[in-house]
Symmetry: C2
Subunit: 436 residues, 2 copies
Amino acid sequence: MSFATPIRRLDARQPDFLATLDALLAFESEADERIDSAVTEILRAVRSTGDAAVMEYTRRFDHVEAKSMVELELPKAELQAALDSLTVEQREALRIAADRVRIYHERQRAESWDYVEADGSRLGQKVTPLDRVGLYVPGGRASYPSSVLMNAIPAKVAGVEELIMVVPTPRGEKNPLVLAAAAITGVDRVFTIGGAQAVAALAYGTQTIPQVDKIVGPGNAFVAEAKRRVFGTVGIDMVAGPSEVLIISDGSGHADWVAMDLFAQAEHDELAQSILLCTDAGFLDAVHAAIDRLLPTMPRRETIARSLANRGALIHVGSLEQACAIANRIAPEHLELSMEDAERWIDAIRHAGAIFVGHWAVEALGDYCAGPNHVLPTMRSARFSSPLGVYDFQKRTSIVQISEAGAQHLGKIASVLAHGEGLQAHARSAEMRLKV
Amino acid sequence: MSFATPIRRLDARQPDFLATLDALLAFESEADERIDSAVTEILRAVRSTGDAAVMEYTRRFDHVEAKSMVELELPKAELQAALDSLTVEQREALRIAADRVRIYHERQRAESWDYVEADGSRLGQKVTPLDRVGLYVPGGRASYPSSVLMNAIPAKVAGVEELIMVVPTPRGEKNPLVLAAAAITGVDRVFTIGGAQAVAALAYGTQTIPQVDKIVGPGNAFVAEAKRRVFGTVGIDMVAGPSEVLIISDGSGHADWVAMDLFAQAEHDELAQSILLCTDAGFLDAVHAAIDRLLPTMPRRETIARSLANRGALIHVGSLEQACAIANRIAPEHLELSMEDAERWIDAIRHAGAIFVGHWAVEALGDYCAGPNHVLPTMRSARFSSPLGVYDFQKRTSIVQISEAGAQHLGKIASVLAHGEGLQAHARSAEMRLKV
């Protein structure tokens, strides 16, 4: 058979397969000196002059003039008006999605705990929300209301008191769905600023914009670099790489569904990665044929085609065990188990951001409304990190309450170990509490 | 009264106090181009030639010659021999400390969870340990066995299968307490390498050293910079700033104890920060007098004196409420509530790495053996981050298992939202599952 759409066809049973796979997965975001120096300058300016610098960059980059920062804050009534302006269908979809995401995330809330020892000492951990969080929302093409839901809801479930959203409005253009999502999720303040200047304003605070404790949300290369730089002054979420899906198929189900699931990843941008692992050569051909047939019908076909050609692959595997081993090597952001007996393979997957189990569990449901977060670890980082969650907006403080009797017992141990480390003041501070 | 030891005396009721405090807290680790370029070179070399580069840098920086990497791995028998070589008192102190730290951290282990909806869909989160973790332990003066306990135990409690420790042995010098701590905590492999080359070996893997998923543990400026650079390829823990203690006193208790607690922080290094807030002017004088009297008796008096003079302060506050407000502004790594009725003030503290409650709860107990971790957020980052814990060695994977009925209900919502975002392939992948 021959196919029209260029996409790699690989066989996992070939000896050079792993090297080929690693080359396919390799992605390094290039350091860009132009971005580096622009971000350095913007951070410095906002830090030193605050509002004035933010307004100047907003004028220059977004072509939005403001005489004072007050003009760049959206009143809550405008958010509510955006929500009211939606169709009933859109408003209900946003509401149901928000409710489901909230219900799921409520399971993630950690509680404080402690225990009391026989001598009366009490040890524990106090769990509290962050005070104030900044949420970056991109303007333009990648301005997604679902991103507002997925970032704002876990923060609010954690109990964050003040959630400040920034969203650029280039040439004044606002996205009513994004503002509606802010209204639904209870975002407290919204400023129409973006880029590195918005990150700087949130990280350092200005005369008008309060300093936050953590900044979350996706952005372009300038935003990503600015977040990387202010990390330490504030917390940040992960700096995301290109989005990825890995589908494992046993040849059951519909080739069209699998093709469209690959497209759904590929349509994000040309660096997005869509890979199919399948034990059935005939089904791989059927998927390739479905790609050929469906691609011309897609509005974003050019992006999809480039993504599939550059970063995609249809891979024939020897067994589902081999497929799982490959999945663990990739540690994909999204993993679809598109097979008959999908549930029993969950335990074989050690590394993935999210596992979509069975033919009905298409990634798009998770992207919008199933409940779990759509902010997931990319580029193999599912090996060591987790989906965005309530835990990202809570912090812990150790509680060390020691009784007089406890200080006797523990003081002797601390003294021995401190002397062993040559830290005599540590030792003596414990020894002073000993009753001789 | 006049005092011999230079340390700032401040009054929180003065109008310029907050500006003075902020200046005292300000600390920026300077970018150092020499370190930057050395680390770049080392990472590149280890990534491209692996073992050979690691051996070459180990020869050059640690003056340790090895013909093969095998010579730079310590056999487990040597760790056990180090443990056996300790005095009974030291061995027992290490054992009891390790047990207490383990018991505390077992409370932190998160478990997988899920819930099934009425239509049979199942949503949840699978919690699993990281596969393999690297533990950096500094050589030389700051080589602390307690640091091995505090980093290794939470990893092992999380269920990490392979824990690889690296510790440089400059000119072949080994610290038996550190090796004993490795034996007690069940560290799986130990390599006698350090610096940026050890971080690179763990992050990228070499012919001999397996690639890890996360690197934890303190190190010098080269190690910190190397960790910052490999972040993304692997996870890292926080890059720690200078250590800090804030003591809040109501004037009760012993001035000598408070003075020694300040010393215990200051003896770490001259950048360490020791601050006392007290409502009682007379007690502040008594502490200053105790500092004068006790300082000459301390082996590390020069470091302590420099730290107190440059970064320390004795501050008179108007009330305990004001003291708590200042504590929340500082968000200290360690906070001692050195007062009569300490427990009732815990809730007033929103931001701190660890709170030591009452006169008996001296920080040194927490540093070694109370149970909580001594790796704590520094430099105000307690506003958004947490003590090192089991949660740092676990990761989460979302489970999205959708029934046929669930796909009907959720598919319509996803379709509406996806069309609203202009992502038609997302919409169609959901719509294809709808039974018309």
